[in-house]
Symmetry: C2
Subunit: 324 residues, 2 copies
Amino acid sequence: MNTDIIEKPYVVGIDIGGQTTKMGIVDMRGQVLSQTVIRTDTHTDVQDYVEDVADALTKIIAESGSEGKVRGIGVGAPNGNYYTGTIENAVNLTWGGSKSIPFAELLSSRMNGLKVALTNDANAAAVGEMTYGAARGMKNFIMITLGTGVGSGIVINGEVVYGHDGFAGELGHTCAVRNNGRLCNCGKTGCLETYCSATGVARTAREWLTLSDEPSVLRSLDSISSKDVFEAAKEGDKLALKIFEFTGKILGQSFADFVAFSAPEAIVLFGGLARAKEYLYQPIMDAMNANLLPLWRGKIKIVFSQLKESDAAILGASALAWEL
Amino acid sequence: MNTDIIEKPYVVGIDIGGQTTKMGIVDMRGQVLSQTVIRTDTHTDVQDYVEDVADALTKIIAESGSEGKVRGIGVGAPNGNYYTGTIENAVNLTWGGSKSIPFAELLSSRMNGLKVALTNDANAAAVGEMTYGAARGMKNFIMITLGTGVGSGIVINGEVVYGHDGFAGELGHTCAVRNNGRLCNCGKTGCLETYCSATGVARTAREWLTLSDEPSVLRSLDSISSKDVFEAAKEGDKLALKIFEFTGKILGQSFADFVAFSAPEAIVLFGGLARAKEYLYQPIMDAMNANLLPLWRGKIKIVFSQLKESDAAILGASALAWEL
């Protein structure tokens, strides 16, 4: 294996999102040598899409001078199944739909048999953080991605938990509010992600603006995003600050239950909303510690991703390929 | 290792409870060859207690003719830490108190260096069920023990999850009722075990009898135990049946969140309250499936322990010793 690393010191990381697909060539220290982006949503047929991915990859492999030196390809994709290498019922992908797509196999055969490992984006982020980021040296941690939804990747004894079917780690769909909770895209109510994702924060803002007369700079906006709430908080807007306090409290309450499950050393936060760390950290800590068993109180760390945001998705996916 | 198994085909299992300590000699098929019980709570000094355990063990080892054929000793104990072999702050043990007791080391040196593995009783039960019981062949399952409290042992990829500190799997202290939940012994409120343990069921009965005028055979009793509720349910008592429905619903709701964590093949139920399976099974299933992501609905099994109840604690502890 050591010889292999010397001869093939690079990996490819591919992050498949609903709109765009990012890919890059990464070395062992987590440097992205070359990267590119293609559209995901201009294809309805997965074969066409795989062609485009392969063409783009071949180009950046040539650009970076890494022909013949690539060990493997890691892919982060919605509903990606690590065990089977398939993308399952990914309704947010134009070519995904309600079927099982053998993506790893399709890409591998188009890339001259290069090995392909595939998992969902949150699991990929966890591996990335463990390989290059805030979780280096940790063997037990939980990655929480705060983006459009809330994703999670759970690492126990240095390994991502995939469960009996490959789909473990759906902590965004654990119940944060049992009664009269918000309706989630998944069809359930009260899911953590309906409160603590970027869309959840915007939803809280809209709800609270309707329910109270409290003055806020947010009132002047036509539509509200989590970024608007963040900007308002930075200006000292009280309602915006309270929204982050509320969001952090719900996260912290849920985190306490996650700790009771796997006793992680830390919970690592990543994603757009994690940028609001100065407003989220203390409410999360307070609520988590208030809901932890005494034996864990004050002992579980909350840390924020250390990966450069523009590279993180590629790095996370690429890290999977080192394990091939 | 194979030679070792032929030459040393037995293990010892010790289950330390607050009142009594059960121990037995077990063979590879999970047969208990010989067993005995001593008091736990007549000792205030752990050294005296270890002496008594060792004397009792030496006796049953001789009785069963297994001198020199014992591979190791497995111990299930409250607050047992697998990593360190210590029993930590076990307030329910007369010799436990608020300290860390190096129990594995003490027992091993008293038993001529026989290796000792130690964990909490729910983790031991999980290993027992995987080795001899309902979870044979399963690599991903969650063991839930419904006794005085609610304990749990989580198995992922065939291994018990101990977490970064050895204390993972405290699912009895995850939050079942967020607001105005019942006060738990741990100091928090709303913990699963305040509703779904044997004491939780009795508590529900007392609460409901006070809050309503509904007729029930339970009204004639001076004090109510979960066994009384079980007996009443068997006689068709409507209130008792509703209590089990309520208990099952809360369990099922919590189980759905546990599934989102580790995607187990099954949840295995064990302990006194699990005897009420005919009243608990359907409410658990209904509530769990209603709260699961669609991808898991109808796919996660609820199974009940297959170990003989009188042997189960010893078997669970003994199973740990095969891994030494």
